[in-house]
Amino acid sequence: MMPKPPIHRIRGNVEVHYEWTYGRYASEFFRNLKQGRFVASRCKKCGKLLVPPEAVCGVCFADTEEKLIPVPDTGEVITFTKINFSYPGQIIPPPYAVGIIKLDGVNTRFNHLIKAKDLAKIECGTRVKAKWRKEDEREGSFFDIEYFELMEDKE
């Protein structure tokens, strides 16, 4: 029988489980997403809006208002990239675009998927709108918005 080669590499994996507390602001945010709308928190000092909402405005290090403010589900693409390759844990198969979206009137931005009839039409500054899932399909997650679509595609 062939002798086995000496051991040089060992495979293993590390698995840890979590249960992250939302806190009041994230709680409200996801509850509102389930209802089909975005809410923001407003800094008591500079008045700017934060989505996702946070308890603190990092720039001012000041409290944000307790009451969250509904904001439009339209905005613009700040930056984006087109994904052409596959990797484990991918949400949808390539090709697709993912970008940083700034909702109208809101100061902070977040990531989401961008869908377009022609991916080449996506540019920095392109106007987009959230495509919401049907009410009974929404769960209280970022993916209650299926993707952001180009406003021009809707017309």
Partner: protein, 380 residues
Amino acid sequence: MRKVAVVAGTQSGYERKNRSESTPELIYRVTKQVLKNAGITRDEIDTVVVGSCDVMDGISISNVYAVASSAAFLKDESKVEEDASFAAFYAWLRILSGAFDTALVVAWGKGSETEMPLYTGLIFDPLYQRPFGLEAVSGFALQAKAYMEKYGVNEEDAARVVVKNRKNARLNPYAQVRKECSVEEVLASEPLATPLKKLDTPPISDGACAVILAEEHRARELCENPVWIKGAGSAVDSYHLGYRDLTELKACALAAQKAYEMAGIKNPKKEIDVAEVSENFSFQEMMLYEALGFCDRGRGPDLIRKGTTEMNGALPVNPSGGALCANPTPATGLIRLAEAALQLSGQAGERQVKNAKTALVYGTSGLCFQSNMVFVLDRD
């Protein structure tokens, strides 16, 4: 060498499950509070050092997530991924360098959000130790057994440590476990890994702690009773449990020696008025008495039997209740520092040790006191 003081501190209060605050909200609360306690704004903080643990938080580089909450936006900021007594050490060194005059140190841990044994299990290397499913309790149990064997220490002695710390915690509004217990209850509690039973072990905790350090001139401007860092020392031992004599705590003794030398302490038993130590487990507190020089080797149980380390004893240890009463890893060591500072500035309320002038602070990382951090604090 510059003189550096603790000028303010705060603690969040500790509980088994904080489901009302996200980690960033918890950090924000203590950071706001400590700045308020110091009477300064975040503009007057030159550097931020956080103490947190990526695996606990479930975020690689757990501090980058906390920038807004820890008042670190656009500031000089870094993290120490170890017990947060090391975060305080690092902040102290930054001020000593002369590059900074004030430092904010903030540490947090939410044990309820992960599975603590999975986390402590990962401290063990994948090849030689992790296959056995070792974690903190079984690791410290091997050490406790070796200690019992070497010096004839028994489980009653260890139970007395638990009784003492829980009694002390009743007077500490921040503590998590505030219910007194008897020696019998400790001995009858669920065996986990002999000789450690449930009540010999620390709780799983959520909480955060923050302190502000400042160099001398600023410290005197900011507070009436600055608590000076008089001495500091750290040392780390071998990694594999079997490579060390687990009863010797060599690196702990070395760290203490360095801190005592810097602080000019020749006889710790006489010169230390109060000690806050991260004992973690019951037996281990007695081992620390020995390694920190409060008594001879093997004589730790004498101190607990005679009541020397009780609140009204000659050298009270853990008036806060220690890690046995609240253990939001990795904030534990910073909490010891915050508590010692309260003692020396006369702000420890019902758990105040009278006329405390010199305090010993001990923090640790890794298994069985592999990594050790000792501070000696005093006041004018």
